[in-house]
Symmetry: D2
Amino acid sequence: MFEVRTDLALEVRELYQEEKQQEIPGVAVEQENTGDVNITRVEILDQHGAQVMGKVKGKYITLECVGLRRPNADLKDEVSKLLAKELKSLAEMNKPMKVLVVGLGNEHVTPDALGPKVVSKLFVTRHLFQFYNKDSDEDLAELSAISPGVMGTTGIETGEIIRGIVENIKPHLVVAVDALASRKMERVNTTIQLSNTGINPGSGVGNKRKALNEETLGIPVIAVGVPTVVDAATLTNDTIQLVIKAFSKQVKVGSQFYNMLNELKNEEKYHMIKEVLEPYSANVMVTPKEVDDIILHLSHIIANAINIALHPGIDLQDVNRYLH
Amino acid sequence: MFEVRTDLALEVRELYQEEKQQEIPGVAVEQENTGDVNITRVEILDQHGAQVMGKVKGKYITLECVGLRRPNADLKDEVSKLLAKELKSLAEMNKPMKVLVVGLGNEHVTPDALGPKVVSKLFVTRHLFQFYNKDSDEDLAELSAISPGVMGTTGIETGEIIRGIVENIKPHLVVAVDALASRKMERVNTTIQLSNTGINPGSGVGNKRKALNEETLGIPVIAVGVPTVVDAATLTNDTIQLVIKAFSKQVKVGSQFYNMLNELKNEEKYHMIKEVLEPYSANVMVTPKEVDDIILHLSHIIANAINIALHPGIDLQDVNRYLH
Amino acid sequence: MFEVRTDLALEVRELYQEEKQQEIPGVAVEQENTGDVNITRVEILDQHGAQVMGKVKGKYITLECVGLRRPNADLKDEVSKLLAKELKSLAEMNKPMKVLVVGLGNEHVTPDALGPKVVSKLFVTRHLFQFYNKDSDEDLAELSAISPGVMGTTGIETGEIIRGIVENIKPHLVVAVDALASRKMERVNTTIQLSNTGINPGSGVGNKRKALNEETLGIPVIAVGVPTVVDAATLTNDTIQLVIKAFSKQVKVGSQFYNMLNELKNEEKYHMIKEVLEPYSANVMVTPKEVDDIILHLSHIIANAINIALHPGIDLQDVNRYLH
Amino acid sequence: MFEVRTDLALEVRELYQEEKQQEIPGVAVEQENTGDVNITRVEILDQHGAQVMGKVKGKYITLECVGLRRPNADLKDEVSKLLAKELKSLAEMNKPMKVLVVGLGNEHVTPDALGPKVVSKLFVTRHLFQFYNKDSDEDLAELSAISPGVMGTTGIETGEIIRGIVENIKPHLVVAVDALASRKMERVNTTIQLSNTGINPGSGVGNKRKALNEETLGIPVIAVGVPTVVDAATLTNDTIQLVIKAFSKQVKVGSQFYNMLNELKNEEKYHMIKEVLEPYSANVMVTPKEVDDIILHLSHIIANAINIALHPGIDLQDVNRYLH
């Protein structure tokens, strides 16, 4: 069966609210608006909240900024700074740390290339610490980064690759950057989600099973994700939902037609989606045409945020002027 | 308003037949099946046919081969040969000719890059004819090729660029290769359309207004196109259509609900599509995830077909072994 | 025979001065230093100067800035502004003009991709003028741009392609951007040459014969070029020269060995270069390893300069913030 | 000081022979010619041989084929088969094995991208073995593959990354593919070297310190390398050598000039090289212009060889027809 597919905690909560008209018990929500950017901090506090949300306990922070769809360097800088601030607070960084950034996804499939593109723009320093035989520095974190590729081209679960590296280089923290799927076109490329729960099975555009989290790696894992596609099954499903809703308004509860509408929500809906999407069904994505530019733009914002959040002595001006 | 969008003559005819249960007057159709490949030759014979089809008078040949979705070098070679044969007959080539191939589309947007990728794989010879001061050759056509880019990056209509080049190098024939949009996912990357009518306004994935045809260039123009995307408005529209059809089966003609269904075909449908696709609406495309590989694969097939159709002394083995 | 190969007027003059210890008659030279950037304005005034320089009459302006080798956004902006100023004065622009920018070179060969990369970053407007049916605008020039590709993939001389387009869209001015070859590694990617003489046969990295100049196009042509490679024959030739010079210092004029050294300058030198470079000889280039980044960097500087020089209402801040 | 730089055992031996006119003691050499391909098997047998060669004990097999410079599918297939045969014998494969292929080098620097490009063309299977819970298969090896990136972008030594992965997925064998530097242009892209000694410090185009060998990984490591560049210091050094040799022929031993020639071999030579290559000196490479195509071509040959050498049930026809 096709399920509604979203990687955003924000969207799960939204769906719940639409249906139940109340907040989810066991989930705390906090909102902030800076003018250009909406920040929503969702915390899943207990097992009940986790079950309802279909997500593990922990913090999920979302930055939404519709302006990101157009090139605007001031807005880009503003979002980088806000993101850096949230990242710092989530990472509980008090002093320069050893951090490994993992760029998930397939560099050769544009909407899935966000992670590798972020990695290519980071100011990595670990080799310099090794070369000068330093253990810490006031201005710089010991930063390393890798894009391990996807299972289809490596034959290896990403989790296995990263576990091996973590065991060898012993960072304090992993930051995993990934492209996500959203339920709504309007969120595509306008929303950045941070979470201290790591990456958990089933997430992401590509084939990235198995977890990257504190349980599997032994150190905290912060996930940074941006929805870059809506999958086509979600899109058609949403269309069907809308058609049914349009009819429902005009139909009496209990009438024969009312029952018909409800039945449709099940098997036939699945067949219609299948019919429209065949023969690629599971492998079709919906994406803005200018996706190449957008991914580049977003990877700058996220790389900048990581660079300034992790390295105490580097600010946004340094990044814009001397890096890249 | 969103219209059903297709560049394939085949699909227009199909839609007509579904609705009217008859062939379009003024349109001749011929079909051939080679086992792996379905060839449909549609000829629009008169003004009435042209009006109903919404396409200009002329021949439209479609090769359909579902096997093209997987890498299979034998099938690839078979399709190249069949395509070369149709191209030769459509071009009415009796002797080596001077031909300009135009690769339409934006090389940097994967599903729109088909034309430029074909151009990069052609065995161009015009400069050799010039260098050796030859006017003709038994084995080789005088082949030139250009990818003019799209209006958004050049500021110039493709038609204006090509007209200028045609006036200067005076070929006998233009072959224009372009990525198309289809109504059905199942046609994406499995269908190749040839036509002797050139490229006419409104066609194509990108922004390629103004015609490339015998009227504007003064020489025959053969168009070669492959649908590489379904646009998202078409996809949602088709889903709505299916939902309505599902209901229609169970509803009495003339009943209140029957009328409701028909009304929905108009304004509300438009609003639903808009709601699902906002805010990118016109700029969202639906495409298989592995689109990079598929475009590469198809560009080989078409370039091979052009190479062997135009150069009398070159066969598929030469192309596979010594070119690219 | 291998000749010393350079596209820079500056280098020709330098070679002359080294040998003759005087300025070339018929050539005026003016120098300016802004701190970071050296500007040299060479004007070939008459036929004698043209003959000695091996270049046509006209103005050649060179901006040299060794800092360009490292990413430095402030310096980048400074060079863009200086370049824009020189470009404006060379173009004798008093009012918004119709300008066609031509990106020469092969986009798929990194050191030759400068021209196409500049074109992809321009703010083209001609289609907007057409769409709104305007003939002029206070803030914007009517800018169009094309990357015609190289003769090896098109089969057409670049000159023929551009002539056709110029005849159709009738600009007032062509600006042609190209990658050049230098004699010295130290000039690679640190030097930008402007000239009002257009592109003349034999120039450039790739195979771009035939002129783009006022004579062939009927309108002024400004050439913008950056040396991105030293060709390997030049490099080995320069090495041989150095070895000979080292010996010469210690050898008596007229001695047997002195004669040997002089003889070597001819045939044997050619054989040695051939031996070292075989079997690729003519097709080998010498380039810094980080050439990809450098070309990207330079294409930004030049595109920015063109954008602000041509569009009166656009300044560098607009370009940095809202374009690209 | 600039040293003669080569990664090819073949070239070290050649240099020794030129100077000493004899084979190196402790080194066995075997040659085979198949018509199109020269195979040289050099075995360093003892510590003396190792010291003279400047390479560790073990087998070094070189396939040379000048025809590889032009596209020729038959020759390509022949080289793939010969390479597969040597690889199989070097790996001492009697049964399907667990193999990890490592693609060294920077995917974004063309001449250094060989390893990553080979990895992208392999038929990896490890995830399928895991999914179906199989430990072995008659037709397929358990193949995994990774391109770890270079230290400049990861901050991690390649050796550390691979060690971590090897510990986790426990293969029997590592095959490391890398771009090399040659002393001679004629070897560039025509020579493939196999060795059972792994990768040892100082090798390669990029910054890939620290070993990948049996000592560091605990399992055998086969290295596959192709010279894709000559470094510029080598090229200029070779030119100087040639000039000196040309003079030497005409000069009496013991004469003043003879001594001058010998002195030049030292300090002044270094200054001349520095003068010609400044300011990029260490970071300049010499490469054929069509390097993009050549790397693609070579990566096919090597990927095909690995695919057919490791998977007992896959032959070259399968690879050509159904993979890639």
